[in-house]
């Protein structure tokens, strides 16, 4: 009975683990890209160039107010019409990065505006250039403020990558669905997949919790 169960877990779990590799790679790559994009957008906004800011907030609002699924479909099925053919994985990475970049740009914007303007002034007063004050004074503080929300976003992202199975990117849910159509062992497979997500997400959630608790201490 037990060996039977273990055999089943092994048989169905192995393909899911392959999917997990894609899930993790996809999460990490789109997280890094989203952080870079979000930060760059938030910094450009600080320059207060009207036209540019209007473009950025249009971008942000479009991505914030439409479903990720629709965004992915448009990227994956729409781009070939313009002669650009991309793999499901690449489409997923681009889609999640753009979506995450839009969300995180708001997080960074809030983080940057939480820092008192006196911080920048005192940096300038000792002879720093605006770039130095950003690099040594503003960004290190912004980073600490925004780390918890970025962590929460990372947790959400890890689970939301499930949506990219819809464009056949080979991650956990994609393998799970394939197994279901092959074996019809629906409940068991999805529980297994859910467990796998939990194992990936739970440690991440603990780390984020620690960051949140330590947020106020500047040591």
């Amino acid at each position: 009975m037990l060996t039977e169960l273990l055999n089943k877990v092994y048989e169905l779990g192995t393909p899911l683990l392959f999917g997990a590799i894609t899930t993790v790679t996809l999460t990490l790559s789109s997280l890094v890209l989203a952080i870079i994009l979000g930060l760059v957008l938030a910094l450009i906004r600080l320059l207060n160039i009207k036209v540019v800011n209007a473009l950025i907030s249009t971008f942000v609002e479009i991505f914030r107010n439409t479903p990720v699924l629709a965004q992915l479909f448009i990227l994956y099925f729409g781009l070939p019409y313009m002669g650009i053919k991309i793999s499901p994985f690449l489409a997923a990475t681009i889609g999640l990065s753009l979506n995450g970049g839009a969300l995180l740009s708001e997080v960074f914007r809030a983080g940057l505006s939480a820092i008192h303007f006196g911080q920048r002034e005192s940096a300038l007063s000792v002879g720093m250039t605006p770039w130095m004050s950003l690099r040594y004074i503003i960004l290190p503080q912004t980073w600490r403020i925004t780390l918890p929300p970025i962590g929460n976003y990372a947790i959400a992202l890890l689970k939301d990558t499930a949506v990219v199975s819809a464009i056949a990117a080979p991650e956990i849910m994609f393998y799970a669905r394939n197994l279901v159509t092959r074996t019809f062992d629906t409940t068991f497979i999805y529980i297994l997949a859910a467990l796998l997500y939990f194992c990936l997400s739970f440690p991440l959630a603990r780390i984020v919790d620690r960051f949140e608790r330590n947020q106020k201490v500047w040591q």
Partner: protein
């Protein structure tokens, strides 16, 4: 011919329609101390912030040791400095803020050493030696590794003074350095400023501490509605004021 350390020439500053400074002239010789007094909103902080181009004057010019500050001559007109050139000039002027503005993510010594390391590209150990001696100057050696959060207001302000000193500035600007402090902490900060003054440093001080201004300054400026109404040595401006508004102002200060 020796140029004065600092010369302001007809400085005006507008914020939108509001004219905050209406033509300020001021000359400061090396080693001298000027105190700027006046009621709230008279433009004294703005004046101080114009001196190191934290606010850009709407018109007028500033010279340091005879050299144009914050601008450059282009043929017959004045042009803006780029941010690097401006930063280089600013590093010659130390500024101390009302709200200290220490960097909370750095310890006291790192607050002081960061400027020398990134602005002057001093080797790390040299910058730390310098920072240590500056912190000693403000009598905070035991607090050298504390974060600003763990320091009292008076201690924070003294670290901020050490940070400004680490640039070895030719001129120190103090923008109401004790206004944000609890009364019992004001003394320690004023003592440090007094010590710096006796070293022969040049200073411009904006303050509400009239007695301190009288002791410290060679020259007092009374600013009202963006113009200098009365100026001179403390013995005249504070002890024998001529202008009615100055008299009223001094009376109110003494009463409170």
């Amino acid at each position: 011919m020796n140029s004065p350390l600092l010369r302001l020439e007809n400085i005006h500053k507008n914020f939108g329609d509001l004219e905050v400074l209406k033509g300020i002239d001021l000359t400061l010789e090396k080693g001298k101390k000027v105190a700027v007094i006046g009621p709230s909103g008279c433009g004294k902080s703005t004046l101080l912030r114009c001196i190191n181009y934290m606010e850009i004057p709407s018109s007028g010019h500033i010279y340091m040791e005879g050299e144009l500050f914050g601008e450059k001559k282009l043929n017959n007109t004045f042009g803006k400095l780029n941010s690097k050139e401006l930063a280089k000039q600013r590093s010659q002027i130390g500024m101390v803020f009302q709200s200290f503005n220490l960097w909370p993510h750095l310890t006291a010594i790192n607050n002081v050493a960061l400027g020398p390391t990134v602005v002057n590209q001093m080797p790390k150990n040299e910058a730390y030696e310098l920072a240590k001696s500056m912190i000693e100057k403000v009598h905070l050696t035991p607090k050298i590794n504390e974060y600003p959060e763990r320091l009292s207001g008076g201690q924070q302000q003294r670290v901020a003074i050490a940070r400004a000193l680490a640039q070895q500035p030719k001129l120190m600007l103090f923008d109401e350095p004790t206004s944000a402090l609890d009364p019992e902490l004001i003394g320690e900060v004023l003592n440090v400023i007094q010590e710096l003054a006796s070293e022969g440093r040049s200073m411009v001080l904006v303050t509400h501490e009239i007695n301190f201004a009288r002791e410290l300054a060679d020259h007092i400026i009374f600013l009202h509605d963006g113009i200098i109404i009365e100026e001179g040595p403390p013995s005249e401006v504070i002890d024998n004021p001529k202008n009615e508004r100055l008299k009223t102002f001094l009376n109110q200060i003494v009463k409170t």
